[in-house]
C-alpha cells in the first residue's frame, strides 16, 4: 500500500515496518479484516472529547473472530513493535468512544467475537465474548424465557457487558456495581499465553463463573482499566428476575436538599432496604433525558441561569434533584420495604413520591424504570440534545455517601462549570457508602471556542477537585495521563513494573490509565 494511504503511523514505527506488519495482519486475518483506508477508519475516529478527531486517529483497524486470531495479532505486534488498542464494541461515549488513547495505535476490534457462550439460569450467570451487546443478551434471555435480569449502563442496547465491566462501569439494579458481579475472565497476554482467572485454570472445572477467587493471588481487577492483556471472555452474575418490581421517584424542589436526601438514603442503602443503585439526578439531567432542549429557554451563550432552571422545574414538574430507586422481591417483601421507605421519606418532611402507577409512560420515569429492571433503551442520549453539537465528557469524582460531601462537590463542580460558561448536568449514583458523582460536561463541539472552554473546564475540574482530596474513578482517553498522576507515584511505579513484566514491548494500549513504558521514565 502506498505511503499516502497511511497518513497516520503508530508512534516510533516507520512506514516500511508498518507495511510489513499490515502484510502479516492480512496473511493472518484476510484482506477484508485489515482496515487501513481513511474511509474505513472514519467510524473508529469519531470522539466526543474536547480535541479534534485527528488527535486520536488510528493508523489501522483489525477485525478478529477468534481467540487464536487475537494471539496471532499480538505475535505480529511484538515482532514489529506495533501498539494496539483493543475495543469490544467501542461504545464508550464520553470516555473516548472507539478511538485509541494515542494517535496512530492500531485498533483491535473484537466486535465479531460475539458469541453468548453460556447463560446458566440455575446458577444465574453468563459467559460472553467481547462483541456481545446487552441488547443481544437481553434478547437471548427473553427468547428463552429465562428468569434472569440484566444490569447495564444507559447506552445499554449497543454497549458490551465485557467492555463496561472492564472499564468498571455501573448500572442501576441491585447488581449495578458491575465489576463486583464479574466472575472469571479469559485474557490473551502480550506473549500470547491464555490466562484464565479464578477457577478457570483448573482442568475440567465447572466453577469458573461460580467462585471468583480460586487459589493464590486474585488478579481480575488488575486487568480492568489497564493494558496488561486482551480479555476475550468474561463471566458475570445475573440477578434472578423478581416476581415484583416497584420503581419510584422522589422529587425534591431545592438544590440544598441534596444534604438531607443523602443522609436519609444512606442507612436505607447500607441496610439493603433499598437494594439497587439509586440515582439522584439534577434538573438538567432530568430535563435533557426527557428531550427538553436549551434553545427552548434561551439562545444566550454561557451557562444557563438558575432562574431558567427554576422555570424548567415549574414547567415540567421536575425537581432540583430527582431520586430514582426500586424495590424487588415477593409482594410481601416489597410491601414491607415500601412501608419502611415511604415512611422514611414522610419523616424527612420534604420530597414528593411518584409511583409507576402515577407516572405512567411519562419520561424520564419510564426509561429510569426500564434501566432499573434491565430493559435496554437509549433514552438518556437525549442529554446530548440539551446543548447540541456532540461534545460530551464525563467528569466522575467519587464522593462519600455523606450529605455534606455531596453538596460540597456539587457546589464546586457547578461553580467551575459556570465559570467556563457550561452547565452543571449531574447525577449521584451507586452507594451505599460511595457516590459516583457523574457530571456530563456537555458542549457544542462544532464551536471551537466552546470546545476550548470545555477543555479548560475539564482541566480545572480535575485540578480543583484534587486539591480537595477528590479524584475521578474513570476518565476519557484525553485525560488518562493527567488522572493517573492524581493517584501517586508508588501506584504508578507498581503499574509500570507489572507492565514491564507482562508486556515488555509495550504493545498493548500504551497510555491506558497512564501506563506507558515509553513515556514513564521513573526507574
Amino acid at each position: 500500500m502506498a505511503q499516502q494511504n497511511n497518513p497516520v503511523l503508530p508512534r516510533g514505527v516507520t512506514q516500511a515496518t508498518f507495511e510489513k506488519a499490515l502484510e502479516a495482519f492480512r496473511a493472518l486475518l484476510g484482506e477484508e479484516n485489515v482496515l487501513a483506508q481513511p474511509s474505513q477508519l472514519t467510524p473508529y475516529s469519531k470522539v466526543m472529547m474536547s480535541v479534534e478527531n485527528d488527535a486520536h486517529a488510528p493508523s489501522a483497524a483489525l477485525t478478529v473472530s477468534s481467540v487464536e486470531q487475537v494471539q496471532g495479532v499480538v505475535r505480529i505486534c511484538n515482532e514489529h513493535k506495533i501498539p494496539i488498542w483493543p475495543i469490544s464494541t467501542g461504545r464508550n461515549f464520553g470516555y473516548g468512544s472507539a478511538a485509541p488513547v494515542q494517535r496512530g495505535q492500531v485498533i483491535l476490534d473484537l466486535k465479531k467475537m460475539n458469541r453468548i457462550l453460556k447463560v446458566d439460569p440455575d446458577m444465574c450467570y453468563a459467559l460472553v465474548e467481547p462483541g456481545v451487546t446487552y441488547q443481544q443478551l437481553y434478547d437471548y434471555i427473553e427468547e428463552n424465557n429465562l428468569p434472569l435480569m440484566l444490569s447495564f449502563p444507559a447506552p445499554s442496547a449497543i454497549a458490551s457487558p465485557l467492555g463496561n465491566i472492564m472499564d468498571r462501569g455501573v448500572g442501576y439494579t441491585p447488581y449495578g456495581e458491575h465489576f463486583m458481579m464479574q466472575c472469571g475472565m479469559e485474557v490473551v497476554l502480550a506473549n500470547g499465553d491464555i490466562y484464565r482467572t479464578g477457577m478457570g485454570g483448573v482442568k475440567g472445572s465447572n466453577t469458573w463463573q461460580i467462585f471468583k477467587w480460586g487459589f493464590g493471588p486474585t488478579l481480575d481487577g488488575m486487568f480492568t482499566q489497564a493494558n496488561y492483556g486482551i480479555v476475550t471472555k468474561i463471566g458475570f452474575w445475573l440477578m434472578p428476575k423478581p416476581p415484583v418490581f416497584k420503581p419510584f421517584e422522589v422529587i425534591f424542589e431545592n438544590e440544598e436538599d441534596i444534604v438531607d436526601i443523602v443522609e436519609m438514603l444512606r442507612p436505607l442503602r447500607i441496610s439493603g432496604t433499598i437494594p439497587n443503585s439509586v440515582v439522584i439526578a439534577n434538573v438538567l439531567w432530568e430535563a435533557g433525558s426527557a428531550n427538553v432542549r436549551r434553545q427552548t429557554y434561551t439562545t444566550e451563550s454561557g451557562h444557563t441561569p438558575d432562574e431558567i432552571l427554576k422555570k424548567i422545574q415549574r414547567d415540567t414538574g421536575m425537581g432540583a434533584w430527582n431520586l430514582y430507586a426500586a424495590l424487588y422481591g415477593t409482594q410481601e417483601q416489597v410491601d414491607a420495604d415500601w412501608k419502611i421507605v415511604s415512611e422514611a421519606f414522610k419523616r424527612l418532611g420534604k420530597g414528593r413520591i411518584v409511583t409507576q402507577e402515577e407516572a405512567g409512560d411519562k419520561q424520564p420515569f419510564k426509561y429510569r424504570a426500564q434501566l432499573m429492571s434491565g430493559v435496554p433503551n437509549l433514552q438518556e442520549f437525549g442529554l446530548y440534545n440539551w446543548r447540541g453539537g456532540g461534545g460530551s465528557m464525563w467528569f466522575a469524582p467519587v464522593s462519600e455517601a455523606r450529605g455534606s460531601e455531596c453538596e460540597k462537590q456539587a457546589r464546586l463542580a457547578k461553580r467551575i462549570l459556570h465559570k467556563h460558561g457550561l452547565d452543571y448536568v449531574a447525577e449521584f449514583i451507586v452507594g451505599p457508602r460511595d457516590m459516583h458523582h457523574v457530571v456530563d460536561v456537555l458542549f457544542d463541539r462544532t464551536n471551537p471556542e466552546e470546545t476550548a472552554r470545555a477543555d479548560a473546564c475539564f482541566n480545572e475540574l480535575l485540578d480543583e477537585f484534587e486539591k480537595e482530596g477528590y479524584a475521578v474513578y474513570r476518565v476519557n482517553t484525553r485525560f488518562q495521563e493527567r488522572v493517573a498522576r492524581s493517584y501517586g507515584t508508588v501506584k504508578r511505579d507498581v503499574e509500570h513494573a507489572i507492565k514491564r513484566a507482562l508486556d515488555p514491548n509495550n504493545i498493548l494500549a500504551p497510555g491506558r490509565s497512564g501506563i506507558d513504558l515509553h513515556t514513564y521514565n521513573k526507574v
Binding site: E79, K118, I158, S205, N377, G390
Partner: protein
C-alpha cells in the same frame, strides 16, 4: 524483556489446545459479523432506540426515503452526538436494508 525472549515464550497453539472448552456445546449462534438479517431488525435493535418517534432523541427517519448512500455516510461518520458505526457492527448491506425499510414506512409528521 527483549523481543527475542517474547518469541521464546510464544506457546499459544499448545495452550489453546489444552484449555477446557466444555462450554462450547452451549454456544449460542451469534450474528455474523456486522450482517443483520433485515432492516426491520436493525432498526428495532439499534437505530430505533433513538430515532423512533416515541423516543424523540434522534432525527425522525421513518418514511423519508433517504438515499442509502446518505444513510451510509451518516452511519459511518456519525453526526454531532450520533455515534459512528464501523462495518463490524453494521455492514454496508445492512445499512442498505435499513434504508429500504425506513423508506417503506409511513412518514411521521412531527419532528422531535
Amino acid at each position: 524483556m527483549t523481543s527475542s525472549r517474547c518469541k521464546a515464550t510464544w506457546k499459544w497453539p499448545l495452550l489453546a489446545a489444552s484449555l477446557p472448552l466444555s462450554f462450547c456445546a452451549s454456544v449460542v449462534q451469534a450474528q455474523e459479523g456486522g450482517r443483520w438479517s433485515s432492516g426491520a431488525l436493525l432498526y428495532e435493535k439499534v437505530c430505533g432506540h433513538c430515532h423512533k418517534p416515541e423516543v424523540g432523541v434522534g432525527t425522525l427517519l421513518e418514511g423519508r426515503e433517504l438515499p442509502p448512500e446518505y444513510v451510509t455516510y451518516i452511519v459511518r461518520n456519525g453526526l454531532n452526538a450520533m455515534p459512528a458505526f464501523p462495518a463490524s457492527f453494521i455492514d454496508d448491506e445492512s445499512i442498505r436494508l435499513v434504508a429500504e425499510y425506513l423508506a417503506s414506512l409511513q412518514t411521521q409528521a412531527i419532528q422531535p
